[in-house]
């Protein structure tokens, strides 16, 4: 039962700390603050300042490991097994990202915890968007989003994007797995069922390219936080399959929580009564 926060000396590091304060203040989980050896050498007060910034002196362990950041985070995550990792993006531009890869994408691919990618946080989180495919993680993601939105008093919207188009020439063209009344698909019906289980969340269905539609909704709806399911192992490891989660993550302007299937949800689960 712990949360790992990567402390970056750049201004983006402040995003991670501010977001952690915003989201975790109600839960007050044990924290691990991690920095790289190189950053600690350059800024010896880095971790102490971060702990003070969080106001959690009693429950925040300080660690440092040799960099680069992604290697340090993955190694610490393998050892400490946190439920949640909060990490800011490295801010690499397209060419640097092509050469060195993306920090957040590497972390998301390699750790077994939920990952909260911290971008410039708003003063308060009022609107949370959960993008749901209707697949196996739908219920898990909807629940995680509801658990975050509830204590914050934020409005939760569940979004499902249908990317399928019907091919002409089909002798018996079928819409994708129709189910229920009103021509709804199985996937959308699954999303609606998840919405019903987590309470009063609104559901919106869109048609189009998944990445574009999700990002458009983030902007149009002025959402403060996006919640997504982690890619399937096939997408994360397969050379042929596109990783939709990673593409959304890299282009999303707001903080994004990537929810995994098998995680001990002591952080994102409601506190025991």
């Amino acid at each position: 039962m712990s949360c790992l926060i990567y402390v970056d000396p750049s201004p983006r590091g402040e995003w991670a700390l501010a977001l952690a304060r915003l989201l975790l203040s109600a839960l007050r989980p044990p924290l691990v603050l991690l920095a790289t050896d190189e950053d600690v050498q350059r800024h010896p007060e880095l971790l102490e300042q971060a702990r003070a910034r969080l106001g959690r002196a009693e429950a925040a362990a300080l660690r440092h490991r040799s960099g680069p950041a992604e290697r340090a985070i993955v190694a610490e995550a393998a050892e400490a097994r946190p439920d949640l990792i909060v990490v800011p993006p490295a801010g690499r531009k397209a060419i640097a990202r092509m050469m060195r890869g993306s920090r957040v994408a590497t972390v998301v691919r390699k750790v077994q915890a939920d990952v909260l990618v911290a971008r410039r946080p708003p003063p308060a989180i009022r609107r949370v968007l959960a993008a749901l495919s209707g697949g196996r993680l739908t219920q898990t993601v909807a629940e995680a989003a509801a658990r975050l939105a509830g204590p914050l008093g934020a409005e939760l919207l569940l979004l499902h994007v249908a990317p399928e188009v019907t091919l002409p020439f089909a002798h018996h063209p079928a819409p994708p797995a129709p189910a229920g009344a009103g021509g709804e698909t199985d996937a959308l019906a699954t999303v609606r069922a998840a919405a019903a289980r987590v309470g009063a969340a609104r559901v919106e269905a869109r048609e189009g390219l998944v990445v574009e539609e999700v990002l458009e909704e983030v902007e149009d709806g002025a959402h403060d936080l996006l919640v997504l399911g982690a890619s399937s192992a096939r997408a994360a490891q397969g050379w042929a399959v596109e990783d939709v989660t990673e593409r959304v993550l890299l282009h999303c302007p707001v903080s994004t929580l990537i929810v995994r299937e098998v995680v001990d949800r002591t952080i994102t689960a409601p506190p025991e009564r």
Partner: protein, 349 residues
């Protein structure tokens, strides 16, 4: 086992029949090409615009691009069209074939009374992707032709000429003696369509097959993977519209993810020329293969950067236009009408 052998023998017979029909049709078209010269003059099929417009319209009439590209080469061999006009007609045939996909998509939506124009979306995407690549590729091709690109590529199929003559000579000579040239030409067109039908019939029943393409309706493949699928499938089917129709059984439920569509079409648009190259080698004109190879190379040169360097920006742009064009019936009707006017306008130029 017996059943398998019978199926294999039937397919071999169909391939042989298809090849014979293809070669015979090309010979008939060559002999009859002079008979359509007055018609082409009456339709103002002259110059690059005329060739392109004629190729586009003819693909709409015969509902496929490949036969029209082969016909263009026979018109070149007969001296009815020059190299530039033939090149433009081949390019126009591809645009016309994509237009056919659009019309079929629109009709499919109408027949199934779909409010969302999901089939028309496929057609609009096919046409947009083809136009975006082919129009500049044709421009690039004209420059290449003028500067001697692939000038050494002169396959005339002399090695097989005697074989072709032995196989089809008596029939062709009898037909030439008995039929007017225009009728020969029409018989040639019908022969080509029959040949492609036979080739299509040889394709295995993919309905029950698995494989990665079967998941194209659910799995989001990397663009270059779908590009390779498009290249591969069309190399076998020889026609983009057939290749897209092949996706229907492959995807089992008859739908495909939008993200998988455009790279598949880009790949299909390249290998759809394989049969045209073959036809170029058979028609006996020294420039025929070169024209096809230049267009094929230019289309490849323009497609590869799209797939490998900026696939998502391209996907976004195409999707935006396709969504706008298929937003409602009125928008779609306007889009189709405007595109139908293009080949007519080209012929009128």
């Amino acid at each position: 086992m017996e059943g398998t052998t019978r199926i294999a023998l039937t397919r071999i017979a169909q391939v042989a029949g298809g090849l014979f029909a293809f070669v015979l049709a090309l010979e008939l078209l060559k002999k009859g090409a002079a008979g359509v010269a007055p018609l082409l003059r009456a339709m103002d099929v002259e110059g690059v615009a005329g060739g392109m417009g004629f190729g586009w319209l003819m693909a709409c009439v015969v509902l496929s691009g490949s036969p029209v590209a082969a016909i263009a080469l026979t018109l070149l061999a007969a001296g009815t069209l020059d190299g530039r006009e033939t090149f433009a007609m081949i390019g126009g045939s591809r645009l016309g074939a994509s237009f056919v996909v659009l019309v079929i998509g629109v009709m499919d939506d109408l027949r199934n009374r779909r409010k969302e124009k999901k089939s028309a979306y496929v057609g609009v995407t096919a046409l947009l992707v083809t136009a975006i690549v082919y129009l500049p590729a044709m421009g690039l091709g004209f420059i290449g032709l003028e500067h001697g690109l692939f000038a050494g590529l002169r396959l005339e199929g002399r090695a097989v000429a005697s074989l072709v003559d032995a196989a089809t000579g008596p029939l062709v000579r009898a037909a030439v003696a008995a039929l007017p040239r225009f009728v020969l030409f029409v018989a040639g067109i019908l022969g080509l369509l029959g040949a492609f039908k036979l080739f299509d019939a040889v394709l295995p029943d993919l309905q029950a097959r698995g494989g990665p393409t079967a998941l194209a309706g659910r799995v989001f493949y990397r663009p270059w993977v779908m590009f390779l699928f498009g290249l591969g499938v069309t190399a076998i089917t020889l026609s983009v519209s057939v290749s897209i129709s092949i996706l229907v059984p492959l995807t089992a439920k008859g739908y495909v993810r939008r993200e998988n569509l455009f790279p598949y079409i880009l790949g299909a648009n390249i290998t759809t020329f394989i049969d045209t190259l073959f036809a170029g080698a058979l028609v006996g004109h020294p420039e025929a293969v070169r024209l096809v190879a230049v267009l094929m190379a230019c289309v490849t040169v323009l497609s590869v950067p799209i797939v490998f360097l900026f696939p998502y920006a391209f996907e976004r742009a195409v999707d935006r236009v396709a969504q706008t064009a298929t937003a409602d019936s009125r928008a779609l009707l306007l889009f189709v009408a405007a595109l139908l006017a293009v080949p007519v306008a080209l012929l009128a130029l």
